[in-house]
Symmetry: C2
Subunit: 413 residues, 2 copies
Amino acid sequence: MSLPEIDGERLLSALAQLGRIGGLDGGGVCRPALTDEDKAGRDWVVGRMREIGMQVTVDGIGNVVGVYAGREDLPPVMTGSHIDTVRTGGLYDGNYGVLAGLEAVRVLREAGIRTRRPLAVAFFTNEEGARFAPDMMGSLVFQGDLSLDAALATRGIDGTTVAENLERIGYRGHAPVGAARVGSFVELHIEQGPVLDLESVTIGAVEGVQGISWTEFTLSGTSNHAGTTPMRFRHDAGLVAARISCFAREMAREMGGDQVATVGALNLFPNLVNVIPSRVVFTVDLRNTVGAMLEDAEQRLWAFADEASAAEGVTLSRRSLARFDPVKFDPALIGLVEATARELGYSVRRLPSGAGHDAQILARMCPAAMIFVPSVAGLSHNVREHTEPADLVAGARVLLRVLMQLADRQPDQ
Amino acid sequence: MSLPEIDGERLLSALAQLGRIGGLDGGGVCRPALTDEDKAGRDWVVGRMREIGMQVTVDGIGNVVGVYAGREDLPPVMTGSHIDTVRTGGLYDGNYGVLAGLEAVRVLREAGIRTRRPLAVAFFTNEEGARFAPDMMGSLVFQGDLSLDAALATRGIDGTTVAENLERIGYRGHAPVGAARVGSFVELHIEQGPVLDLESVTIGAVEGVQGISWTEFTLSGTSNHAGTTPMRFRHDAGLVAARISCFAREMAREMGGDQVATVGALNLFPNLVNVIPSRVVFTVDLRNTVGAMLEDAEQRLWAFADEASAAEGVTLSRRSLARFDPVKFDPALIGLVEATARELGYSVRRLPSGAGHDAQILARMCPAAMIFVPSVAGLSHNVREHTEPADLVAGARVLLRVLMQLADRQPDQ
């Protein structure tokens, strides 16, 4: 018997169809969590799940799980991702993992194959966090580290709650949260970074997710006239922010490895051409795959910021906006992804994920891993996000083989 | 006969009264050019001019000139400043020079003294430029380098024109502009910088006004994910702006002298914590009293900006927002201010003005100079702007003596 095979055309067509729901003129998608567009996207995906005979459940936070029954009543092998997008998102972020999972189930069903374990394809609510914080909300509730009540009460940027919006779009379901049985979880996703593309590698076996530290600094100096205040008498908050920005870059370069540092948001006050800035609020985003190095980066940055502020006579305060320790995926699953890609003849490399994903939350409850395919030029959260069709098909082929191997393992494996 | 003397109490009381028109709760004044508050302030000052027998004229741009006739029909010795303020201004910026001028005329009149030349006290429209650009609009039209028509057609930040607002407040007058006869001009003003205050010097004999160069830079890099983009692949526009900010500071310190450099306004795009900035628009304000040094500073800054942008793979464009060559005041007048302050027993030093003033425009048509008094902590354009009463009186005393000497000079002097 020949092994079942992904129908590439059908997968690409599904991606294009879902991409038209909330599609933007000129490309890209706007389908933020729990909007009418999200509802339309959900309805469409649920329709596909039912079409291929999956049993669909919706839980209290709106996570949708379709199950393709196995030969035995064992915890399912789960795949999936999310279908919500940022306001100027691409077609593949999240959607690709969900639709490739459905394509994998579809070919198994068409081939009349029933795996030992059930196969589940999930899409989790509000992975992006673009409308409601925190991101990865649905998977956090599913796994149990965020209470359903707290998540439902969350107010979004438009002032409405998650609960209201779930009711409105008809996705406040009844399946229980916080105690799901999941045997293992594998998420297929575009890289959202440039590494695979630049190195012309087709498959990424994701080793883990970088730890994240977001710090907001507020510096207060003295607003004064840009013409009349000699340099030696200045307490320029903006200058200190510039020095910290430069330091963060130098530090990241010096530390090497996976260390990254970004000053992404910065606001000067009063922000006038001829006034020395009295105040600046800015953020530094630090990430590393190694927890100790991330802590080291934080300490070095904070120490420099203290020194630079003192030297200019500017006061500094800081607060943490987000802090996640690095996540390591399951070594056996990483190895399985890598070996499967090689067997299929694809180039493959191990790499960390710089972005957050539902898989890092699922990793708290079961063995988990991720499969990456290249993002052209590393563009993501951008309407120009793109992955070559051949790479999309390659990733789906690897996913199908990995799911089949996991689902047919002996119960004690 | 004893020399006439400034009535300090009366001057301070006048400053307080004018300061209440548009006064802010908790201190400071909001009386932007051609607002209802400006009209109320103008009416009040015109009332004081008439009270002391001055002949008041209003020109086409709303400049108000009060004249105290002299014994001979010669071009007047003029003093004055402006009474418009920034939105969070202080009581003294501009107002002080106008009210001290009126106090000087008042004491001459009370003493029955008529000088050889007429004495004129002027307040010029829209010196601040906070509502309509350019600043020093009224004096530019008065002197002739800005056409009345162009000034009248100027639209402010609220979309209305100077002409409409002048009509509305009743200050579109008929006195001609661009060809006034002025014998000499002396402006009394608070320093708006910290030098006199820090050095405990009472009177500043202002040598000139710094040249000003405002450059707006726009840097365009590539927006990308802060987590997934390795440091070596970044084109971070924000980082380059930070490097240019640091360079501007170092350059100014290294050049020394009067060179100052300020990055006052900076806007990042998209300005999100986890996105590498794709674009930044920011300004650099450079000033120097020496034209050649200002040009040197510009060249060095621009060269560094080009290099830093190229090194990061970021494109740069720049445009000039303002460019004024340094102004040198009349040496004889500077000497007269200095000598008069010494005769009155005040400490005095020569210094440049870092801010722009109407006197620098008047210097294009007649011998001009300025007298500075200390600004506590150098604060200006700030509701906490303050000058000690004794210093306010000292400056007015110097002004009175200088005006008397200028006004009694022989016609050929």
